[in-house]
């Protein structure tokens, strides 16, 4: 009984508790407290998200109703954009929701309706709002601004956008490059001359997509960038030559067959195959013996497309014969090297 009392006293009387035990219980209480706080944070953040979603939906409804009315109702029955702006676009959250809806609609419309939306964008002061973003310090805000100006077809800020094509952040860089393709109507790819960073595959894909979206009237001759030092720019130009079937670039492509980079040569083989450049057949057959295994495979895929069947069959036979002779020579050499 006395022992039990002593034990109970130990747990109740913190003065007699060893220091380490006390510290342990304190840390355990701290962990439990943090867990409770985290749980509370989860509950509160759910509540906050709910409120935000309701606000978003409310503003979205207002935006859609106003845009529809602006586009299709008689002018005298529509609230003026200036009044709407004063009444509803009172903070950046609401402006952003309105902008998202406006841009979404603008993407899917053409002609007069699209022009009317651009007018609305200006009259509501949203153009200014987008322009201001270009001067922000955060990369994502700048990229957001570039995206908005591009979607709304605002060309005045091309110069400023061009200054971001070599930005250290890859997403901002990519957004700026794609924006120029769509906004710089006279020379959509001229920024390639000033690129200091390599173009990743992702950036190339974005540029190709931007070019598609822009329905470019003045397509540049991509062979002009085939002599660039930066390999990724050359590869991108080759891909664009194929995409836009620029057959006039074939002589320039043939010159690249002797480029020191195997990766780039592989891209040329692929391009010659897709362009069906018959003039390349002789050169490819001559290059075959000294190519990398991967590029050899690419040549073998290309030749049947750009040469006659009998020429290709003869070439294959020649390769087989050379390989057999090589194997036999190796065998003889190995046998000779073996100790007697």
């Amino acid at each position: 009984m006395q022992t039990l009392q002593a034990d109970l006293a130990f747990w109740v009387d913190t003065a007699t508790m060893p220091r380490l035990v006390k510290v342990n219980f304190m840390i355990a209480a701290l962990f439990l407290g943090i867990a409770l706080l985290l749980f509370l944070f989860i509950v509160l953040s759910r509540y906050r998200d709910g409120v935000r979603l309701r606000k978003y939906k409310w503003m979205e409804e207002k935006a859609q109703a106003y845009i529809t009315s602006y586009l299709f109702d008689e002018e005298e029955n529509v609230e003026s954009p200036e009044d709407f702006r004063r009444k509803y676009l009172t903070n950046s959250f609401r402006r952003q929701v309105f902008m998202q809806n406006l841009i979404l609609l603008h993407k899917n419309l053409l002609g007069e309706t699209s022009d009317k939306l651009s007018q609305l964008y200006q009259r509501l002061g949203l153009l200014q709002h987008s322009k201001q973003k270009l001067y922000a310090s955060k990369w994502n805000t700048i990229a957001e601004g570039i995206g908005e100006l591009t979607e709304m077809g605002v060309q005045q800020e091309k110069g400023l956008i061009r200054s971001f094509i070599n930005h250290p952040h890859p997403i901002l860089r990519s957004e700026a490059q794609a924006a120029l393709v769509r906004l710089d109507i006279d020379a959509p790819f001229s920024f390639l001359n000033d690129l200091a960073e390599p173009l990743t595959d992702w950036e190339q894909l974005q540029l190709a997509r931007a070019a598609q979206k822009a329905h470019l009237i003045k397509l540049p001759d991509f062979s002009r960038w085939l002599t660039k030092q930066e390999e990724s720019i050359v590869i991108f130009s080759i891909r664009m030559i194929v995409q836009y079937a620029q057959h006039q670039a074939e002589p320039a492509l043939l010159r690249l067959l002797h480029h020191p980079s195997p990766n780039l040569r592989k891209e040329v083989f692929l391009a010659l195959r897709q362009l069906e450049t018959f003039a390349a057949a002789e050169q490819l057959m001559a290059l075959y013996p000294n190519e990398t295994p991967e590029n050899k495979a690419e040549i073998l895929k290309t030749l049947p497309v750009i040469t006659f069947e009998e020429t290709f069959t003869a070439f294959q036979r020649g390769i087989q014969q050379a390989e057999n002779e090589g194997l036999a020579a190796t065998r003889v050499a190995l046998q000779a090297a073996e100790p007697a």
Binding site: W11, V21, N24, L32, R46, P170, W202, R209
Partner: protein
Amino acid sequence: MHELITEYVRDTAVFFNSLILYYAIGISSSYLILALISALAMRSYKKKNSFIDYRSILSSPLAPSVSLIAPAYNESLTIVDNVRSLLTLHYNNCEVIIVNDGSKDNSMQLLIEAYELEKIEDFPLQSRIATKPIRGVYKAKNPAFHKLVVVDKENGGKADALNVGINVSQNKLIACIDVDCVLEPDSLLKLVKPFMEEERKVIATGGVIRIANSCEVEDGRLIKVHVPKSFIARVQVLEYFRAFLMGRMAWAHMDGLLLISGAFGMFDKETVIRAGGYNHDTVGEDMELLVRMRRHMYEERIPCKVAFIPDPLCWTEAPQTWKVLKRQRNRWTRGTAETLLLHRKMILNAKYGFLGLVSLPAWVLFEWLAPLIEFFGVLFFLCLVALGYANWPYFFSFLALVYTFAIMNSVFAILFEERSYQQYKRPRHMLHLVVTALLEPLLYHPVTTWAAVKGNYDLLTGKKSWGEMTRAGFAQKKV
């Protein structure tokens, strides 16, 4: 004499206690550090991702070509539906390779009938990795299934089937999956992106695997997400949050990721082949392959990266019974240990950079040895109790410490889920998970620790089997 023994036991106890204490501090700190790094990485990823339109990959001729490889063994109940689901994934430039690994049921016949397959005699097969013989390669006569390639081969296990898929593949990237997993429609688009955006060569990408138990699945598509009804599966939801959202995200950010789940991962085919393909002699072939690929790249001095994306991409069915769970954890332990032993040369070797100096030692200490240390700690404590040397106040205070830390860690993991992709939308789902977090250390953790100890024992005794994974399947609407 008695005093001498008492003193000896006391000294040993003090030494062992200190060791365990420092180890516990080390492991807990590592969890917290990983969680913080992961939080930063996740924030940056979400910010970047808000600018990404994955449809741009879908429609582009510049998107890389992908081969989806799914090994199948005795999957006749679900194989036709699963293949249909794979064929509807959003990706244009891709082929779906199903490798029938010598199934004893009628899987092959079902596939031939459902997809109008015909045997291709002159299929351009590259046998760059040695495998068991192939009986035939089949393609669909119906152009609607032109993406599908079915390979029938002799049974050789999952690793062998995947290697056959690699040999058959015609594309630059390969995505290896378990055929019974449910993939998100955009999963391939998301996994491909890291291969395109990095200046450094990306050799592999992995994503988050989620638990599909109790979720609604229709035609191989996930319709509605529910928290699993079974306690065992629910705990695994928490485990997966911790492992994927808090662990792997951080390791990938530090370029130290060692594991991409076998359920779904994408690899650069050429690197896989150069590293030798999947290893037949281990039960942890997914981890072993990645470690070998990274080792190969270090030894060849080619800078590379393994990427990880936090999006939920793949849903899998988790074990729902203690028996199956123990079997799975036993196998995972053996797989981890086998990989670490196979590549022991890399551990604490500066030649392998961060991988050798941090990742691998951390795996040895905190993944492989953790259950063993815990088990021997418990045994030691039981000895002290038997000898009458147990210090109960210390015991309870440490127990409280460990228990509350485990709860805090799990609630932190739930927060990660909430702030990232919030798949469990209903408030009661979250409450269920919190309650599960309270019970996990008491009911679930001892079982998995025991399974891991048993796994180590089996490794010592040379057990090599996979252990059967019984699954309920996704055939009905609700799993």
